[in-house]
Symmetry: C2
Subunit: 145 residues, 2 copies
């Protein structure tokens, strides 16, 4: 797993990192393309990867009793899914799959967590970006967008 560190510069998530930090994260990252209906992760699975959507759209599904898996949200380019991989107990709370073809940057979250234990500022700045995304998501949901 690895991408060119320069590629990470185009992500807002990494804009506050130093060149050295970006190089370290690039070692844990991989650019991937998935076909429609590809399941990125499932509810209750351990969170081991973070997905930065660069193109396309995913649907977020919750299991809902007898109704089974039910779509509760859709997220597109610029969003990060699998954030549970950064918060204990590191377990996914949704099933997430591509609605159309998607391009994603995948980060090995287990390795990222280890890296953060040695450099908290790296984790702090990534968290700040994710918090901003989560707060925007909350605003959109509150407005029924």
């Amino acid at each position: 797993m690895a991408v060119d560190p320069k590629y990470l510069s185009s992500f807002r998530c990494f804009e506050d990192l130093s060149d050295e930090q970006r190089r370290a994260v690039a070692e844990l990252a991989e650019a991937e393309c998935f076909y429609p209906k590809y399941t990125l992760f499932e509810e209750n699975q351990p969170g081991e990867r973070l997905y930065l959507i660069t193109e396309g759209e995913v649907e977020v599904l919750y299991s809902n009793g007898e109704r089974g898996l039910t779509r509760v949200d859709r997220l597109g380019a610029g969003e990060i899914v699998g954030c549970s991989a950064l918060v204990p107990p590191y377990k996914h709370t949704s099933t997430t799959r591509s609605l159309i073809e998607i391009d994603v940057l995948i980060i090995d979250a287990i390795a990222l967590r280890e890296l953060i234990q040695e450099d908290y500022s790296l984790g702090f700045y990534i968290q700040q970006h994710i918090m901003r995304l989560l707060m925007e998501r909350i605003s959109n949901l509150r407005l029924g967008a």
Copy 2:
């Protein structure tokens, strides 16, 4: 502003901090009680304080064109409001006010931000807890709870 550092131990937000870190945060904290209909902060105001609700309930309001301020959410004990005070551009996105009498722990967010610049692990663990709360809020909103 200051509370007994031991008081902070009862907050999940600070459970991953060291005693020394808790002592530093306690210097920036104050326990307060507010009457119903007290406005904690207003939309577009600079985010200067973080509010940990220990008792009671607040309403979250967005300004909504001609309809004026409209309630979009309610949050109770265990929640943290004013999270925008930790994320650039540090500007509140809602107006938040008490529905009933509330007890809160107020943290001076400007001083906290300065503290974090000297000790990122402190910021990392506080933000990890806030991310958990934001993700729970997203789940609740998705489920229409």
